[in-house]
Amino acid sequence: MEQEQVWIQQALRGDKEAFTRLIEAYQTPVYNLAYRMLGNVQEAEDAAQEAFIRAYTRLRTYDPTRKFASWLLSITSHYCIDRLRRRRFNLVSLEELPPWQGVASERPQPEERLIENQKRDAVQALLSALPPHYRAPVILRYWYAFSYKEIAEAMELTESAVKSRLHRAREMLVHAAAQADEGGIPIIASAVQAARGGG
């Protein structure tokens, strides 16, 4: 039996230490998904914590034939989508704040760091242009290399729905990038820079 399955069995018997091992193993994927979905560090921390707590309380429903990471990320994405839907009804919405200003530090930074921050902010600015149920498949596709089948399982969709959501989401991303470009916001410049740096 894999170490992960041993931890799960121990956590099921109420062993909190074993569950802590699972948190340590999966904290980065879960936190990253929450951050990409919500766009700011405070909410990402809170949502990632809540996702792990939900996983602990629902551990009995976990099907060991599935990948534990997929199950955990499924809980995280559902929770973040709910949270974003609730956010729409709040009077002061964090989404109204431009994320590329909300995230970047204002202190003077070395050039490399600055480029990294620009890239990160460009990514968040683009992702925030997507409705929550389009944002999640895009994040699962790009940051977790999930297949259509895995996205479909995580989001309780059919594979053809995933296909069409990714297609629609990509159209929206191109549109958002073009709009930002026309509005003089340097998202595209960052994208081009990133493309040069990455390619």
């Binding site: 909190k16 921390e45 460009a122 069409s164 297609h167 191109v174 470009d181 994208a191």
Partner: protein, 197 residues
């Protein structure tokens, strides 16, 4: 202009195909067809370039790790969450359990429902009175069940002797004692958990 990403709408029949191409879902023939089309259609090529730029931006951005001490903060939150549940459960069970036990014990002695009618004097708002009526009706329903039991007990007391009545009351006392034991255990556990934490 170099940064201009789209001049006009891409062709609908190739729009979804571009998305599929990015996910490596096209057959060799479909891919060749798309490439041929991109050579001749400016709108689709602009869309394809934009899609690829976004793809490169996303795939070159690494996963973000949480701030240090994340696992410890989740564990602490889990302990807090679990310790709160027994308190809520404890208080709820205290109220419900005491009520049910008291009802069972008293039902063998006297009628309880009529005493609730005196509460009508204290309650003035129509909504509260309606609530009280519902409670009273539920109680009298439960009491009719219990009065059958009471009559049975009284019949037993009259014929075979006082023993049955005593056994009944003893059962109530034992149930109450067991109940209090469970309750005290539940209420004290969170305190010990918090001490350990």
């Amino acid at each position: 202009m170099m940064l201009k990403m789209r001049t006009s709408k891409p062709c609908p029949q190739f729009s979804e195909r571009m998305s599929l191409a990015l996910d490596h879902q096209l057959s060799a023939a479909e891919e060749r067809e798309l490439r041929d089309h991109l050579r001749t259609c400016n709108a689709c090529r602009a869309q394809w370039d934009a899609l690829q730029r976004i793809e490169r931006l996303f795939t070159s951005t690494p996963l973000i790790a949480p701030p240090a001490g994340f696992a410890a903060r989740v564990s602490a939150r889990l302990v807090r969450r679990e310790s709160r549940q027994p308190i809520v459960f404890g208080v709820l069970s205290l109220v419900v359990g005491t009520f049910i036990l008291g009802f069972i014990a008293l039902a063998s002695v006297r009628e309880i429902t009529p005493s609730l009618y005196s509460l009508y004097l204290l309650v003035t708002t129509p909504a509260a009175r309606h609530g009280l009526t519902v409670v009273t009706e539920l109680l009298s329903l439960a009491e009719s069940v219990l009065s059958a039991l009471r009559l049975a007990i009284i019949a037993c007391v009259r014929s075979p002797g006082v023993m049955v009545y005593l056994i009944y009351n003893l059962t109530v006392v034992v149930l109450t004692a067991l109940w209090l034991r469970v309750l005290i255990g539940r209420l004290l556990r969170p305190v010990s958990v918090l001490r350990q934490a």
